[in-house]
Assembly symmetry: C2
Homo-oligomer: 344 residues x 2
């Protein structure tokens, strides 16, 4: 089974309005939809839809936590969220049916988590990881969860011989690197922040942590050569992937939006782009990629297979309207066409 | 006991953002608050805070219905909502803490109500009205509830000798008039729509219903004389109040926002304005006025006392930040200062 962890899970609510959002006015919503969300939950949903054994863990509480669990039951996604006294956050996405404004989002803050609740989660995770073939640790940390939570969980998984994939931002990702996760999968902005070079995480960020990342790692990739700046590749994500591995990750996959993925994996620099541009809802595309990468970790697949499957699943997720869903036709069409380029 | 009816009750959610709403972007919410809402619920909350025996009825279902009940329990507002399979709507109000955008609202549609559920409510109402001294029927009707619901309930109350106050819009108010409620309390726009003269209720509205309103009523008020166009009064609301009584209401109170209330009551035209302008949150101000008017109906108070209390409570509600709350200091200050003018 693949275990996903979503510590700051959400109930994702979608409102459709006939027209755009006009600040300072009242909008009558035409339709309301809600489903369980958060990066790890989206990944679990994709895995379940692929028939892959999965268990979605995390923290959930309050009325919205109960709705989250009920929706996962209805969707057939096995789950075992640890209860908390706080209320699972909602995200409200207001979709303009006329297409003018796109999506206007309102994200509630995560619930406050007590030390006891965090220990309760750790105990649940320790039990679940015994049967796991891979774990996915994804998304932000709610208030009260220690900043090194992902390092802690990666260590527990490693102790049980289970590889971890970490998909996180900034501080949470940087802290995870010290526990040497098998794979990290941020996007370029998140990787920049984790390496201490992006727009500051907080008001007092001083960028000093970049100096703590060592220059070479166990499976380090060579510095970007001439081939790395060739057609369609992006030197920056390649460099970030290389440096995340230098910083502690076994392998690193960095997503660059519609341009696809780059990776430093097994000492090689690899780049994969979708064979054609897919338009649609990019929310959840990275989580679908994580699903493919987690399967690869669980089965020990070679990086070419992992990355081409990740790009195809990601594109199939963009083609499906809701995060966590994939368009089977797009997946079947694209998967054989995705090519991996070795830029080492 | 005063029975309030809120057929389209809501869970009112307030989001505070540090800055304005920017369409097409994602906003991280700083704080979330939620409470039971809807016009009748707000009125019940004011009555409970005044120590007045009250029972809040209505329809509620789903997770948000459970949250609505729990919040009323916590607030000490006695309630007996009839369960429905659908989910109680939420209203989301995004408040810009910087003050630039004011409040941006998103109102979910009301739940679909089945015929069986509506009959269940009628049975609950029939029991509750036996012990009632007045009933307040307030707000919109959710899908599935008959358009003449308020007329039906006014008739049931009248059959038990209990006077009704109806605070509704357009079609629902117009339909209620036929059952001769003791008091109606729309604002000027709602009264215009009920009389078939306002901006159309729907795309096929033809304004014909204005001809169905008879020219005189049992307690009819004289046509607006020279005094009715004097200082501070507004000829339009006076005319609307008069015509609502001509249409079937025992008395009519029409609110004109910060300018106060006008009434056709016991054959007299009356106007009441607050002694000073109160700034704050106007949401719920009309529901506070309804609370005062319901007390007057229950006790048979003279119109001057009812109206001056209604204006003072309404101003005290504007001064309190949340709908359904009143500022006790403002109430104590204003109540002795409110003067009722007879414009007959």
């Amino acid at each position: 089974v693949i275990v996903t962890v979503t510590l700051n899970a959400a109930l994702d609510v979608t409102y459709v309005t006939p027209g755009g959002v006009r600040p300072g006015t009242t909008h009558r919503i035409r339709s309301v939809a809600q489903r369980a969300g958060g990066k790890g939950v989206n990944t679990a949903r994709v895995l379940a839809s692929l028939g892959e054994p999965v268990l979605a863990l995390g923290l959930a509480g309050g009325a919205s936590g109960a709705e989250l669990r009920a929706e996962l039951d209805a969707a057939g996604v096995p789950h075992g969220f640890t209860p908390i006294a706080g209320t699972t956050r909602r995200t409200v996405a207001v979709v303009d049916a006329s297409g003018t404004d796109g999506v206007t989002g309102f994200w509630e803050p995560g619930p406050q988590v007590t030390g006891e609740e965090w220990q309760g989660f750790r105990a649940d995770f320790r039990v679940a990881v015994r049967d796991a073939r891979a774990v996915v640790l994804a998304g932000s940390l709610p208030p009260g969860v220690p900043g090194d939570a992902y390092a802690d969980l990666v260590g527990m998984a490693s102790g049980a011989g289970v590889p971890s994939l970490v998909d996180a931002d900034g501080d949470a990702l940087r802290a995870a690197l010290s526990a040497r996760p098998a794979l990290v999968k941020p996007n370029a902005e998140e990787a920049l922040r984790a390496l201490g070079e992006g727009p500051a995480n907080g008001p007092h960020h001083d960028g000093a942590s970049v100096h703590q990342v060592p220059a070479t790692g166990e499976h380090g990739c060579p510095a970007d050569g001439p081939r790395a700046s060739g057609r369609g590749s992006s030197p920056l994500p390649l460099s970030l992937a290389r440096r995340l591995v230098a910083g502690g990750a076994g392998s690193a996959v960095v997503s660059a939006g519609a341009r696809g993925l780059v990776a430093c994996w097994g000492g090689r620099l690899l780049a994969v782009a979708p064979p054609r541009v897919i338009s649609g809802n990019a929310t959840g595309a990275g989580d679908a990629a994580s699903a493919a990468l987690a399967v690869a970790l669980a089965r020990g697949l070679p990086p070419e297979e992992a990355l081409s499957r990740a790009v195809a699943l990601s594109a199939a997720a963009v083609a499906a309207p809701l995060a966590g869903d994939v368009d089977g036709d797009v997946l079947a069409e694209l998967e054989p066409l995705v090519a991996v380029r070795d830029l080492t």
